[in-house]
Every structure is written in structure tokens, then in C-alpha cells.
Amino acid sequence: MAKRVVIDPITRIEGHLRVEVVLDENNVIKDAYSSATLWRGIEVILKGRDPRDAGFMTQRICGVCTYSHYKAGIMAVENALGIEPPLNAKLTRSLMNMALFFHDHMVHFYQLHGLDWVDIISALKADPKKASEEAFKYVPKGYNPIATGEDELREVQKRVAKFAEKGDLGPFKNAYFGHKTMKFTPEQNLIALSHYLKTLEIQRIAAQAMAIFGGKNPHPQSLTVGGVTCTMDLQDPSRLGEYLQKFQILADYANRAYYADLAMAAEAFRNEPSVTQKTNLGNFLTYREHQVGANKWLFDACGYIKNHDLSKFYEIDESKIEEDVTHSWYKDTGFRHPYDGETVPEYTGYVDGKSIDGKGNEVDTKLANPNGKYSWVKSPRYDREPMEVGPLACMVVNYAKGNEKVRKVVDEFLAQTGLPAEALFTVLGRTAARMLQTKVIADYGLEAFNNLVENLKSDKSTVAPYKIDPNKEYKGRYIGDVPRGMLSHWCRIKNGKIENWQAVVPSTWNAGPADGNGKKGAYEANLIGMKLADPTKPLEVIRSIHSYDPCIACAVHVMDVKGKKLGEFKVDPLYGAC
């Protein structure tokens, strides 16, 4: 008989998310429902405001990818007004963005996702000497491991042992330690645990790297429509030096800890089906990001692949992006392009039902209504197909397009771990892709810094002048690839005010419910077929969901009460179709 397991809250994410799975008698997932449980309505708040303010407000969509929506909000307006910021501004924005990626990906892997892979209690049984030797196995060629000396590991162990002896584990209480799908040896757990603690230090450096040009982090405050305001910092060589130094520390850590730990996970978990099962959704969509030169991007693909096929790359056609709300708590409007978006909240709640609880009892609970609406997230589709977005999409689509930098790091990682390319299309591959994306930035990102320094020799400009004509109508968009995947913001300006604003965010692509054609989004699709070792401890589900790095506040932004037809979309020639 089918059993339902409700998991609410999904913790260690940004925002409020519930996931429900339906199990058969063998505890294999037959169906899944992803439900976002908060709606904030930021776009409706944007209407009627000064377009120059949009970036500050869109930034508050998320405090984790704290810079992504800021930059998007500013650049959508620039695109609408036809402004080209000076190269200095573009490259400075890239430097801040790279700091964000370091921060976001490392904190995700160690602090948020890490506890799905690492058994802290098991680490206590490790032999620190053996662990210290083992750490050398996983670093890339030419590097030595970091924070895994025998003495350091011994200290980590002592510290955590004291903690574990107490009855109250505080934030680590009631975790799924000892779960059957935890595959690290005690020594490997100890290595990862040491990096868990070390990353707390490293992430502060990443935040500082952004704050040098951003003023603060989270929520930096140095972008303006037309450029950047950190004019003085850019003219101060010591400030540039600070950034360079911090970048190097982060890049070093990416190689010596982050890369190494993923190589270690690839070895330890290679025979665990719940993380090596091929994804059910084979479509991946991405957009260019990280400008490193006048006309050069680290990830330059703007397109997608279909059916896990790495041999064919397709260019994106922006007019094929749509959103559907059949199963979302909004008045149904069918599929709509973001420029024509209409969103009227229509909450219908959950239905009464039963779930297996944490003790194995079947208890009364609330359930998503599979025939009705069950989430505040919309369902974006490309050409009516669900797509996965995120670092995995970035890596595989750029790989398919022939991006040399991406090919190099992916091929090296696969060679080192002995995994086939197919292994990318898994929970493990998705987590590894986030690291590989970081490695590309670590290895090649300084090109932006060098070009900035070069350009500053002859060009000091940081802001392009512009004027907003109240008698003119404007429309424009930003599309890019932020830490969680492809992000787009679409705006229209009239009478000098924001007439309409829509954001189609990465977590919406991945976390959205089924659409009107019954096609499921990435979270739901990829849980199906996964077997749970113990339904009272659904670690496999949590690990799978965390592998997308959910950011639900981003996903529940969406709102446009009036939703007028905005006419034909035309790509601005300034930004081109890439």
C-alpha cells in the first residue's frame, strides 16, 4: 500500500519548503510533491517605483545569493534604458560576483549540504594519522591538502568528542547520523568535518572580498544604474591588493579542500544508488555569466541540452520562456511569457491526510492536493518543457557547447575519479558540478582582475550617464547564471516609473510543481525511483533536494497583479542574444 512521507520543514536551505513523497511497499518513491510555503509579493511592491530603486528592492528577494538579484535588478533597467556601463564597472561587478560564487558554493557544500554526506559522530572513531595521510589522495595534481594535518584533525576530534558526550547536541541534535546511505569512512568523515569548521573562517574572507567593492555583505550597496559607485576603492591600489589576496586564498581553498572533498565523495559514494541514479529530467538550461574581458565570459553558453545528450547544444530563444500556475496558488492563466505574466494569489491550502512520522507511526497531517494547487512556486517552462538550471546545467551545457575551460576541469575530474560522463547527471554529479564551477572561477577568474587593472591605466570611468525620459516607454531584461542557475528579470518602465516587473528565478525552474501538461519540475521528477532505506529518516530525499541548493525566498517572489499584454519582446541590440 502506498505510504506518504511529509518532510516539512526542509532545513538547511534558504526559505520555507515542504516535500512529500509517496512510497510503494519496497519504500521506492513513486511520486513526489514539492511545495513552497511562503509568498512575499515583491514584484507587486515594485510597481510604481523609481526604476533606479529596483536593484535595492530586488536584492531583498534573497540574502543568500545576496548580490545576484541586485545586479539583475540594476542590469534589467540598464538594458531597458539602453545604457552600456563602463568596462571598469562591468569587471568590478564580475569580481564581486566571483566572491559571491566562492561564498555561496562553499557554504552550501559544507554548512548546508555537508551534513547529508558527513557523519560527524563517525568522525570520532577515526584514526587522525590515517586520515591525514588519506587526505593527500584527493587533491588535484600539484596541491597539498589543507586543514588535515594529523595534529589539526586530532584537535577537531577532541573538540567534537566533548560536544557529543553531552546530552544536548544543540544544532546537530536529531540528525540522520548513522544512516545506511552515509558512505564515508571514519577517516573521510574526519577530513570533511575539519573542513566544515575551516569553511566558517574561509566564508568570512569571501564575504570580505565582496565587501571591498560592495561596502558590505550580505546586501552590498555599490551598484547604481549605469555603473558602480566604489570609485575611490578602484583607484586605491591597496584595495585592489586586498581583493587579489583574498581571491587567492579562496581559489587555494577551492582546490585544496573543496575539490578534494568532492573527489573523496565520488569515490566513497560511487556505489550508493540514491546518489548515482540518473536524473529523470534530462533537460538543462543555462546562460552566460562572469564577464572577464570586454567581450569575454567564463561561462559563455546561452542555451540548453536535451535528454542528457552532451553532443548537441541548442541556443536559447528567449520568447520560449513561459510560466504556468496550474498547481500553484495563483489564479490559473495558462502558460504565459514573463512579459505577459499575471498572478493573482488564490490559496487553497492543504488537504487532510496521513503521513509516516519520525517514529514510523501513521499520523494525521496536512497533504498537498495532487489534483489541485499545492505551492507558491510557479512552473517555468522552456518550449513547454521543464528544465533543470544550476551549476550542473552550466557545466554540461558549456561542455556541450565546447567551452574549453569547462571541458578541461570536467574531464580532469572524471579522469581522477574514474567516473563516466554519465555520472554528472546524478545527485553526486550535481554537487560536484557546483565545485567544478567554483574551480573554473578559481583557475580563470583573475583574468577579470587583470583586465580591470589594465583598463584602469587609461580609463577611470565607473558610471555611464543616462536620462530617463518620462514620455518614453522602455522595456528590458537581465538574463544570467547565478549560483543557483539561470536567472532572469523582466521589466517595463512607463512615465518614468516601473510599470511591470517579473523575475523568473532558478529555484522556480527546479522547485516548481507539475505544470498543466502534467510535466514535473526537477525536484519532483528526480525523486521518483529513489529507494529509501528508512522512511522515518528520509535522508535520501533531503540529500537530493539539497543538491539543488534550494533558495525558496527567491522562488516565491513572483507577482504581477494586473498583468497586461506587453507586446512583442525584442532583444536589445546592446546586449544582443549572446
Binding site: P9, R12, E14, R49, D50, R60, G63, K162, P538, A553
Partner: protein
Amino acid sequence: MNEATIAKIKERLASLRKLPGIGEKSVAQVLEEHGFTRRDFLKWSAAMAVMLGLPTKFSPLIAEAAEVSDRLPVVWLHLAECTGCSESLIRNDSPTIDNIIFNFINLQYHDTIMAAAGWQAEENYEEALEKFAGRFVLCVEGGVPTKDGGEFLTIGPNAETGLEKLKRTAAKAAAVISVGTCSSFGGIQAAAPNPTGVKGVYQVINKPVINVPGCPPSAKNIVGTILYVILFGALPAVDNFNRPKFAYGLRIHDLCERRGHFDAGEFVEQFGDNGAENGFCLYKVGCKGPYTFNNCSRERFNQHTSWPVQAGHGCIGCSEPDFWDSMAPYEEPLANHKFASASVDATADKVGATILTVAGVAIVAHAALSAIKNPKE
């Protein structure tokens, strides 16, 4: 601050010592293990005393409070928010040490950090509420959706609304701290037209609430407030918006590094101009520092790396109620603003007003020169 206060604090600390902690080690011991000497620790305590606006003779008491800080159970609830406040806390303003304080408070529930999920997370929550009833500090991040019964946010397998959960939890808390502008005053989602009816925590519960606004607030202000609760067993002195005076007693403008340029009448007229290159005052490109109470200009962010004004952008007023509506547009001067508003705490205002006497005249003068536009008109 007299001897009686000190005696009261000592009594409070003695009672805290009797409570069970999460570890046997004191924070000072843990610090030593991480290469911090006792001397470093005392130095930090003295710095915290200064930040909290206490005479230095209080610093030994702060050290003592930090040592028993793991006795303070904390439950952290996320409502309508973006997690920026938690992120700020994780970044930390004072390197390492605040982080250790953070780790060594008895953090019972925090859904961005905790290992447990789903049923197990719920169990932790209910257990903390029972076990530490009347003793835990509730930190709330995010505004409270109230429209249509608060249906815009539900948490947990029984789909309890955020509003219900907050009320239930607050009823058992010893103290309630609103971390950030959203939980303090509603924040971005409460900006006009406030489609989900979001309110600040203090507007929906019947208990004193201390507001630590900012979007996000600096980690120092969060930690400082928690430390105050440990130290005094009470909430710190606050202004009319329930903000701790030690952090929100002065305007950004009062201690701004560009203040000299303001007084000299040297302004950035447009971002990227000569004035910007020379670090002139940002008032004319919209700085809301003269109207905003916070310590950013003194404490800065990310281990003193920078703050918005240093990065060339004016303050947007993020620790003030309704700033999303009242301070916009953020890149234009807010000329006719009530910088001596009746709603601002009288004492803080008196201090600020004195400092601003000259500045006020200058602001009015500039106001006359600037076209004033209201974004929502």
C-alpha cells in the same frame, strides 16, 4: 551605572551559572584551544563594553557573561524573510570570537543551520519549547504575514501559519528579539501596498520585543543584544522604536567619515564624478545618513572591511521603520524629511539634533536646490 547595578548583574550571572550548559568548557577555555589567550579574551570583553556603551569597569562582567553564555537557550524562527540576517550573523563582524559566542550559546533551533529536518526538526522545536519554557530567548527573522489569517506562510507538517507559530512560541519565551528590519517593522514585504499584510513581531504579540533592525543588521548588533540579555537578564535601554540605544543611539551622519565634506559643502553631484573620486559627501545623491539611527559608520561591516558610504553609495536608511516607502528614491536627497521626527526617541534625538544643528541648515539649503520627487505619488 552604580554599584547596585553591578550587584544585580553579579546575581544574574550567579543564577546563570547554576543552569545546565551544553559543554563543560567555558568560552574562554575554548578560545584558548583556538589560540586565543586570556588576554585576547579580556581585550574583546573591553571592546564589547565600549560597544554596549558601558563603562570599562563592566568588562570583567562581560567576560563572565560570555563564559556562561552557553547556558542561554536560543530558538531562532524564520518567517517572511530572505535569510540575510542569518547570513550576516554567520559572516560575523568581529572575526572568530563572535562566531564562537554564537556557537556556544545553546542554539536549540535554527532552520538554516540545524542538522535535523522534517519530523526530527519539529521534535527539536517542541522539545526546546517544553524543556526551556520561560527561559529561552526567541530570535525572530522575518516579518509576520497577517492578511487572510496569515495563510501566506505555513510551517511544519500540520501547516501551522507563521503567525500562529510565532504567538505560540513567544508565549513561552523569556525574551523576544526581532533580528532585522523585517521582524522589527515588516521590512520589504510590508512596503506599499503590503500585499500579504505583513507586520512587525511587536505588532502581533503581547510581550516586550527588542528590535535590532537593519537590512541586514550587523552581526555586532545582533550579538551585542543577545549578550546584553545574558548580562542583565533584561532587555537593553531602547528608543521609541525599541532599538537598543547602544547601537542605534546616533545617526549614521554623526560619525560619518565624509562628514567633513558635508560641513564644507563638498558634494558628489553625480555618481562617478570628481566629487566621487575625492570622497565628497553623498547627501545630494541620496544619502539617508542624517535620518538614520545606526552604528554603521562606527562599526562598519565584514570585519571593518567597508560600509556603503565608503563604497561610494549613500545610506538607504535600512534600520528605520517603513524606509522602503519613506526614504525612496534612494538616490535622491530626502530634503524635507523630518529629521527631528516626533517618533524618534527624544534622548537620542536631542543628541543627534545638537550635532546636526549646522547640518540641518545645510540640508534645508540643499533641499531647496534639489527637485523633490515621491516615487509613489
